[in-house]
């Protein structure tokens, strides 16, 4: 091992500037190009966005094709396991169905009663919205960032900020739209902040993702009386999302009140993107 100061500087120079016969670029040149690319990220011009969108569309499609073998193999194990547990699951589902039928009867009664009461107080607000069904193209979740790619982009009318559901449950919002694809930031991501309401108390809060299977509730009232089992819905505050979209249930995680999502965010195959605007209800 060489130790003199000159040799150190020669080694650094060689490492960053020298290129071998087969190398076309030096390390330093490529680092400079990367820095330039990074600084271009903050520039929002039409032509740059078009190039970025085209590159992303191509890469997402290639990523989808490359992931096919993995996507075929990994569900096979759970399928085999599922076959072994078939009877046990059937009995459980039968029991659940019975309970759900009972609940449905109660809900039907409450719906009728609710409609009657709404007529009495003259509340005409309608929370119906238009959705576009979209397939999850890539769900490469980095251990640090949680997002998925959908196979529809601005050619299908998707826009930045639109809420994304799985079934009727809220799972995230669109943060990037390309021509043929778009990215959804999941509610579990550290950067996700959603205005929510906790029922039945009606507490307003901000739900922050943790990077795990649960989220935390920030900005709750000081003397709140949250209970395990309380339900969390979008509050619709700020007019970003429709109010009343179910998200999850309050549970205690590491002795903190947290939101456990209704949907398993690792099992997203099809999603519904709400394309209507929350304030007007129009598309």
């Amino acid at each position: 091992m060489v130790t003199s100061r000159d040799d150190f500087s020669i080694a650094i120079r060689s490492a960053f500037l020298k290129k071998s016969v087969k190398q076309k670029f030096s390390l330093l040149a490529l680092i400079i190009i990367s820095v330039v690319l990074l600084s271009l990220e903050s520039i929002n011009s039409k032509s740059l966005n078009f190039v970025r969108s085209a590159i992303k569309d191509v890469i997402y499609r290639t990523s989808f094709i490359t992931s096919i073998p993995g996507n075929i193999i990994s569900p096979m194990f759970s399928n085999i396991q599922g076959h072994f547990e078939l009877y046990e699951k059937y009995e459980m589902v039968k029991l659940e169905l019975q309970q759900l039928n009972d609940q449905q009867n109660q809900i039907n009664y409450l719906k009728i009663e609710n409609n009657k009461l709404k007529k009495v107080i003259d509340d005409n607000s309608v929370h119906s919205y238009e959705t576009i069904t979209s397939k999850v193209l890539v769900d490469k979740e980095s251990p640090f960032l949680k997002s998925v790619i959908l196979n529809k982009g601005f050619n299908s009318g998707l826009k930045k900020g639109m809420p994304v559901l799985k079934g009727s449950y809220f799972v995230g919002r669109i943060t990037e739209v390309n021509y043929l694809s778009s990215r959804v930031l999941l509610i579990s991501d550290l950067n996700s902040k959603i205005p929510v309401i906790v029922e039945p108390m009606g507490y307003q809060a901000i739900m922050s993702g943790t990077g795990n299977e649960f989220a935390l509730l920030d900005f709750l009232p000081k003397n709140h009386q949250l209970e395990v089992g309380n339900l969390v819905y979008t509050s619709g505050r700020g007019g970003i999302f429709f109010p009343g979209i179910p998200i999850g249930r309050v549970e205690l995680v590491e002795e903190k009140f947290s939101v456990i999502f209704f949907t398993d965010l690792n099992q997203l195959y099809f999603t519904n993107v709400i394309t209507s605007e929350p304030m007007t209800g129009k598309q």
Binding site: Q23, L27, E41, P143, F144
Partner: protein, 169 residues
């Protein structure tokens, strides 16, 4: 004819590390352990460090740069972050290569520790300071630690591949 066959086999073998790298960045392959998602490791870091250290012609800097761009697009990071981190790691490996007279796995492993620590710090600070993107710090530290632990295992496997390539040549 035999010469041509040998050349093709050798060419294919030489492309394996680059193919693995592009497969990893394009596909959804995520080296996290079943039911323990926070326990993951970064095989691309090991791959880049090893091949730049042992044979930089196999995994060119241009390929590494492109792999970084693809990784950023697939994961959803600002384009250029992964390229910078991969190239910094390559810088460490290249520097070690120019400095080392007698290569040894233990010495490479020891240098891999500060290299990956600096690389992941750059990654974290670029995202946090310049783009205000929150990154799960604990997950990143655990990922760094496990990647370090796995280095010797993959280095031995890559050594085996490297020897096959050398023999074919």
């Amino acid at each position: 004819m035999n010469l041509l066959k040998n050349y093709s086999i050798n060419r294919f073998l030489s492309l394996i590390p680059a193919l693995i790298m592009f497969f990893l960045v394009f596909s959804e392959t995520d080296f996290s352990f079943e039911n323990l998602n926070f326990l993951s490791f970064n095989l691309i870091y090991i791959l880049i460090f090893y091949w730049i250290l042992k044979n930089p012609d196999i995994l060119g800097y241009g390929f590494i740069f492109l792999a970084g761009i693809v990784n950023d697009v697939v994961i959803g990071l600002p384009i250029g972050v992964s390229s910078i981190t991969y190239l910094i790691l390559s810088g460490f490996a290249a520097y070690l290569r120019y400095l080392t007279v007698q290569p040894s796995l233990i010495y490479d492993w020891i240098v891999f520790v500060p290299s990956i620590a600096v690389t992941n710090s750059v990654y974290y600070y670029i995202l946090r300071i310049f783009f205000d993107i929150n990154v799960n710090y604990i997950a990143l530290v655990i990922n760094t630690g496990i990647t370090i632990l796995f280095y010797p295992i993959f280095a031995i496997l890559f050594n085996f591949l490297s020897k096959i390539i050398a023999t074919k040549r």
